[in-house]
Every structure is written in C-alpha cells, then in structure tokens.
Assembly symmetry: C2
Homo-oligomer: 137 residues x 2
Amino acid sequence: MTSTDENVRYTPKGKRVTYTPQSAGQSAQNVIRVLEGRWKLMILFQLFVSKLLRFSELERAIPGISQKMLIQQLRQLEADGVVTRIAHPEVPPRVEYLLTEWGQSLCPVLDNLLTWAESAPDDLRARLIDPDAMSDQ
Amino acid sequence: MTSTDENVRYTPKGKRVTYTPQSAGQSAQNVIRVLEGRWKLMILFQLFVSKLLRFSELERAIPGISQKMLIQQLRQLEADGVVTRIAHPEVPPRVEYLLTEWGQSLCPVLDNLLTWAESAPDDLRARLIDPDAMSDQ
DNA sequence: CGGTATCCGGAATGATACTG
DNA sequence: CAGTATCATTCCGGATACCG
C-alpha cells in the first residue's frame, strides 16, 4: 500500500475531514506543536483550574519559570487561539489571561491523554505520571 | 490558591490518579514528550494503518526522512513502549516494526486530538489541518 | 507590574559517508 | 537491508540586565 496521496483531504459539504496516513500525521504534528514548549502544559492546567490569572499570578504559580519564557509561551498560545490576553489600561498595568472557548475544550482532550498514560504498563506509567513522587505505599 | 502540593498523587487501592494543576501539567508534559520529535507522528500513523512495516518500508512511506532520524525516533518510541522491534536473524537482515498493545490504544486518543483541531475557528483550523492543501472548493 | 533586549550553551535535526 | 559515525546547523531555553 503506502499510498502517497490518493484521497481528498476535505469533504466540501460534510463535516468530517478525510485523512491519509500522511495528512493525519502532518495534522497531528501541527496540533502537538501548539502544546509543545517547556511550560505550556503547566500554564494550561493552571488556567483550567483558575480560569483567570494575572501575569504575576502565573509567574508565582509556576515555580522555576522566567518572565521571558512565561511571556513567550503565553504569546504563542495566544497566537494559536488557545488563550486570550486582556490588558487593562491602568497604572500600575494589569494583564489577565484566560482560555478561549476552544482552549477550554482542550481540557477533556488532555484528560484523555492522561488516562492513556495511566493505562500504560507499570514500569512505563511510573515515568509518565510524575518522575518523582511515586513513593506512596 | 496556587497550592504547591497539598494532594496525594496516587490513590493506593483505587484506580484513578489525583492531580494538582502542577502534577497534571507535569504528567501531561511527560506524555507529550513521548510524541514529540519531527517524525514520530508520521511513523505512528503509518503503523496505525499498516500494522507491520519493515525499516525500508517506513523509509519509503515517509518522504524526506533520513535513516538516522528514522532509527532514532523508532528507538525512542520503542524505549517508551509504543512500538515493538522485531529483528529476524537472516541475511540480508529484516527488521519489522509494529505497535505495542498500549501503542495501539493511542490511536483513538490522537483521533480526539484531531477532532479538537477540526473544531477550531476557521482561520486557525486552516493552519492545523494541513498547511498546504486546503485548495479544495 | 508586565514586560523587552541580548547573549549563550546544549539539545534536536539535517547532510553525508561508511558498514556488517 | 538496516543500520553507525561524524560533522554542521538550527532551534530552543536559561541567565541577566534594562524599561514604560
């Protein structure tokens, strides 16, 4: 088999996309790229829980992150339509971050991913569900 | 709020893990790391469809990949328990790759991810569901 | 408070050549 | 056929200093 591209990618009037192994891989790559980055998942899970957070609150909630990385990852998430940035014209400045509607719908997807990780064979699961901790029982 | 770690991560006898924003973010990062890499998703979707592929078949099925990168990504996927490598002691050598049972169960998870991407606002979706193509209609 | 600007080291990726 | 080995490059991410 190993077709190169013999299918149409888009069903014009229907709602579902048709994938080849190639296009599916390509698309999945693009999606994963949105979540890649040393701190993005941390940021997202903070926003899943807290809904609305100031820049400084995120900074404090995520130990070890630098201002540079925080703003960089936030900007990328914003550009990818996952988070919204609200700057209040005040002195001192106040900027708040929250998930877009689409960003919120990512929560159950990531939950599936965690569930998948939990279903891993014991030795692998230990490395996925937090490297430290695990000392319990 | 912004708790540091006030919950236990592991329910000893129950089946589900308890997450804090921190531990969930950390775990999700670990899981994403398994899928990161320029070619891993491509490899996985080839195996989702073809089930069993030789090294050279994967090489031909994935245009642009080098032998170095193919073997590297395969080794990582193998170390992460997603694919299985079977070397047949023959001359010339024959090596086959296939998904582990756990690796197979990743398929619906990635399908969810693609479905999420399809639900993105139009302008964003265009960049996720294949950068080229899109010319249809 | 919420950023920018710069420099730097290491990792990830790519190109190319060689081998059991 | 299924890899290794080596070198070049590009891409983050971290550290530090400064700004409206």
